[in-house]
Amino acid sequence: MDEGYTTTDGRKIGGVVMEMKNITLRFGGVVAIKDISFDIREGEIRAIIGPNGAGKSSMLNVMSGFYVPQEGEVWFHGKPRPQMKPYQVAQQGIARTFQNIALFEGMSVLDNVMTGRLTQMKSGLFAQAIWKGKAEAEETENREFAEKIIDFLEIQAIRKTPVARLPYGLKKRVELARALAAEPKLLLLDEPMAGMNVEEKEDMSRFILDVNDEFGTTIALIEHDMGVVMDLSDRVVVMDYGQKIGDGTPDDIRNNQAVIDAYLGVSHD
């Protein structure tokens, strides 16, 4: 197997982290994903684009173990991943955000971010009950990490605010914070910029680039907005009606006739 490539901006991309092999996913009669294969490499920002209903979210749900495909395999770190529950996938180092925000509305921003640390917290029930020894040390340690993420995403001022009170754009950011708190090896983002204004989109793009740059996190993201994707990503998968119609660098995609017909033509109205 080859060992990656160097991006146009000089970043080293490593070996394959996750590989989707001939994935087919059906909902009753609806074929959401039809025989799609692609890979994601270490350190890469990989985008999945396509019109509404193309099957992008479904693909992300397969990657995060939320949907089980009828055909095909998900390979993770060079091995086929056995069928597992979503929480087990999370424990393997895959974190994600949702297209429709899925935060814990009854908890504060800080507690939401701290839930991202749950996979790292191992102290037993008894230690927690008396709040001594490992439980207390672990809480402080993980709080420090959560605060690092909170600083990184510039949400210090709202850390004690109940999430239900936050505006949409900030909620998206808190959801990213919660995913980052898990120190994921692979981060899956479902339309992280949907519904944001231009300024919020710029902030979010900057955060995504910074995450990739500072933590070296491999990122797969779904986006609707072509402009954003082209700036952000190293390689792009294009989906349409459940099929893969393009796969390559942003430049390849721009010049791909099938993609232009199916997608670019529509959005460049």
């Binding site: 995060s64 939320f66 529950k85 929480y87 701290m114 839930t115």
Partner: protein, 358 residues
């Protein structure tokens, strides 16, 4: 003016995550504890113990238990009375089977047995939610009461079908049985109540508490961040039932002394504890105390005002109680689902800003 957090900074994370980060709250907590342990035992009498203090402490433990399950983990339960009965009957079995065992151990073991039973009846929660789970726990309630009525082994084949608490001592002082003094029973319950509150608070502010709240707020997202929903729910049932079992053991052995299961631990008990949690505040340990205090004091206060002072017939007063509690439940459910605890928080927020509200 005097309630201030200005100048009261947390400089470390442990300081910030302690139970009472504001100094004033911390001191008030110490004062209340000192009063409860050092003053009340000397001034307590039988009336205060039986009318107010014992039921308050014992119900507070049950409310803490139910609050963990319902308020923190979002799993509705109407089986609290049945689980209290499990605590009571297992405590009775331990007391009679091992007469030399310390009463502390008896009560703790009753909690452990109830925790196991709670896990068993919590299994349906892995499949069903909300209304359907409530019905399943209701079935547990009726089944458990039926079981303790029907199987004579549980009441040691006594002719009356009742269970009676024999005398048991702690450090040579009787805490159960007819020779118990009010202060001893009070102190015994107080120790369990304070310990339960501290343990519950520690669990709910740490990682297990966050797992519960994550399940409550959005179980799908909880699973995606790595929470095993089965484990989280069943631990909630276990811990919750542990407290409820302790409460049932104390209710039987220290408060009533003799129990007929259909009377002491009927469905009404389940609702009473649920109302305490709703009125006090879902998802708040303080709320469990507030709700228990409110529903223990309310009937006593209404009796004093209605029957003793205004001379109303006692049955009318009893009916009025039902009306008032019913109305309050509706008001709280509609207007303030987070109960007295939230009203208290809002009042503090106002007080903190007073006299400059902006």
């Amino acid at each position: 003016m005097f309630y201030r957090e200005a100048g009261d900074f947390s400089t470390t994370y442990p300081e910030d995550s302690q139970t009472f980060p504001i100094k004033f709250d911390r001191y008030r907590y110490y004062v209340v504890l000192a009063f409860a342990f050092l003053v009340v035992p000397f001034i307590i009498n039988d009336y205060w113990a039986n009318a107010i203090l014992l039921p308050f402490l014992i119900y507070a433990i049950a409310a803490i238990g139910l609050n963990i399950l319902t308020g923190y983990c979002g799993q509705v339960s109407l089986g609290t009375g049945g689980f209290m009965a499990v605590g009571a009957y297992s405590c009775y079995k331990f007391m009679t089977a091992f007469p030399d065992l310390s009463m502390f151990i008896n009560v703790l073991l009753a909690g452990v047995v109830t925790a196991a039973v709670g896990v068993l009846f919590g299994l349906p929660s892995l499949r069903i939610k909300g209304f359907y789970l409530a019905v399943a726990t209701l079935a547990a309630q009726f089944f458990l009461v039926w079981l303790f009525n029907r199987v004579p082994w549980f009441y040691n084949y006594s002719a009356s079908g009742q269970i009676n608490a024999p005398e048991r001592t702690v450090l040579g002082v009787a805490v159960t049985g007819p020779n118990t003094s009010a202060w001893a029973a009070y102190l015994f319950c107080l120790v369990f109540c304070v310990a339960s509150a501290i343990v519950a608070r520690n669990l709910t502010r740490g990682s297990i508490g966050r797992k519960w709240m994550a399940i409550r707020d959005m179980d799908i997202a909880a699973e995606i961040i790595g929470v095993n929903p089965m484990k989280a729910k069943l631990t909630a049932f276990a811990i919750s039932s542990f407290f409820v079992g302790i409460s049932g053991a104390l209710f039987f052995a220290l408060y009533l002394g003799a129990v007929e299961v259909g009377e002491a631990f009927s469905i009404q008990k389940s609702f009473l504890i649920l109302f305490m949690v709703i009125i006090g505040g879902l998802g708040s340990i303080f709320g469990s105390f507030a709700g228990a205090a409110f529903l223990v004091v309310l009937p006593v206060a209404m009796k004093i005002v209605g029957a003793d002072m205004l001379g109303m017939p006692t049955d009318i007063v009893a009916h009025l109680q039902l009306v008032v509690v019913g109305a309050l439940i509706i008001v709280f459910l509609i207007l303030e689902p987070h109960g007295i605890a939230q009203l208290w928080r809002l009042a503090k927020e106002k007080l903190r800003l007073w006299p400059f509200p902006h």
